[in-house]
Symmetry: C2
Subunit: 318 residues, 2 copies
């Protein structure tokens, strides 16, 4: 099973995408973008033992590698279209590759993303880099930099589930329904692609939550040149997380835990219609704070300022 057989067997699926002129099997992929659209490219790497535990199912590794990129595309309010995969492996294990490809194509298929190319190489550890290019109507991409003083800060879904799920997974705690829910949120994160497009005209800025709510909200505020505050009692925490962890631990995961891949965005409109929009995507949108002049992000609890700071996950940050 050399690299070319491996690609043919696991990754070279027949495309039914008319935008793709040439896919896997040439020096490059050729595809056609729509007129009056801009292109959005995102790229995320996952390293075994760093971004996921070594024992994680190959299917989940494949799914997550795509989902985390879909989440970045969502944060720009773009439509994901074409994907490339750089896969570095220690050895070519057919069963592992089959499961990995299943997860990869499941996540891609949920959003009609075509795998059009990539590179498969041998290395000392598993490294998965996925790149997705999407489209957005010219001028409508949601950037991090548009938040204004007075805007409200919103998040989609619930916070901290994935990080708590990973923690429980690594602790080897016995499974129950709540734990299964949390672990699944880590294994198979839901990229908010449709939701992000539905709220795009209302959003002044957006970011996806991959390094932790506090850290990523701070990045959005910094990029916009504004400050903000989060009321921690408003941060949405799922029932399974509340039942599994003590209150303070649950809040800790909700503020600092990465891997949620929910959206954080700012808006200048009254969010009355947001409940209905969110319900259409089987999730919620919750106002958690406010943007102000200045710089930095602070937290309040029941209106009283509390000391909280967290830089989020940073490679080489130790």
């Amino acid at each position: 099973l050399d690299e070319f057989e491996l690609i043919r067997r696991f990754f070279d699926r027949q495309l039914v995408d008319e935008s793709v002129v040439a896919g896997i099997g040439d020096d490059g992929a050729v595809f056609r973008a729509r007129p009056s659209h801009e292109l959005v490219t995102v790229m995320d790497t996952m390293v075994a033992g760093v971004h996921f535990p070594e024992f994680l199912d190959a299917g989940d590794i494949g799914y997550r590698a795509v989902a985390v990129n879909l989440s970045d595309i969502a944060a720009m309010a773009a439509s994901p279209r074409w994907m490339t995969l750089a896969l570095t492996l220690q050895h070519a294990d057919g069963a592992w590759l089959e499961a990995f490809a299943e997860g990869l194509f499941t996540a891609a298929g949920e959003h009609d993303v075509a795998l059009v190319g990539g590179d498969t190489t041998r290395g000392a550890e598993t490294v998965v880099t996925v790149q997705i290019t999407g489209e957005v109507k010219t001028g409508t991409a949601t950037l991090r930099s548009g938040a204004k003083a007075g805007d409200a800060i919103y998040v989609s879904g619930t916070m901290g589930d994935a990080a708590a799920g990973l923690s429980v997974l690594q602790s080897g705690a016995p499974a129950n329904e709540d734990i299964d829910y949390l672990v699944r949120r880590f294994r198979r994160p839901t990229a908010r692609v449709g939701l992000a497009q539905a709220i795009a005209t209302h959003a002044t800025a957006a970011i996806d939550i991959s390094d932790g709510l506090f850290a990523d909200a701070e990045k959005l505020l910094h990029a916009s040149g504004v400050s903000g505050s989060i009321e921690v009692s408003e941060v949405p925490i799922s029932a399974p997380l509340r039942r599994t962890m003590a209150n303070d631990d649950a809040l800790g995961f909700a503020l600092a835990g990465g891997d949620d891949y929910e959206l954080c965005f700012t808006t200048s409109v009254n969010g009355d219609q947001f409940d209905e929009i969110a319900a259409g995507f089987d999730t919620t949108l919750t106002r958690i704070g406010t943007v102000a002049e200045g710089a930095g992000l602070s937290c309040t609890k029941d209106g009283v300022r509390i000391n909280y700071t967290n830089a989020g996950y940073r490679h080489f940050g130790d």
Copy 2:
């Protein structure tokens, strides 16, 4: 020096590219393609100790990571435009990163390619994945699949220099001018971007030579559903390679050595004008063989068929 400081310090260079709406620092990069063009995306990974020796200068690693992708873009006759970088490192070494970025931006700058995004992660070994998206006028990408019986097979430049250079580099042989030339061909390969565009209207199929002339020519013929033969006495070998190696060794490197990043293409036109075109790009174009009906690639030496086969470099191929 955490990942965000690292990106700011070494990779977030001010762009003067009007096609880029949002570059490094958002969830994704936003850019504008030209109307009436198709997009071409290529992606190549380099793993330390596999694609290059661990001791290779960081500047050369950066340069090669871009050049090998430019070469794939060239093989499609496209214009490279936007680049993303996935960089996995054991630790954040400022001097290494500075040299790496110098090499990367030198190669990118030679073709006005903008670094618009990427991901920097920690891992157990150095893994560099570069993705480049380019543009080509709709319908004009040169694929591997267009070769027809009767076409001539051409290559640009000379064959085997880079592989011989790497071999000499690893043997620790004392340097001389010829060896310096060969080693430089490995360290800083020349992607034939402009040349490929200049001959695109004459080429029926093209591939870049990364895994070895014989193996890559065979891939082109296979994709086109035809056979071919190479006259080995016509394969262009540089004077430095001839002076450094015995004839048979030089020919071995020329046929099987990877890393040349020259073009191999087929054409149905008389190549009288090719010398002048090639001279405009400081290189040569040499007819080395012929396409025929059937399947497979064979070699002749002075017109007599010889036994030669080489599958080229394959990950997991051992």
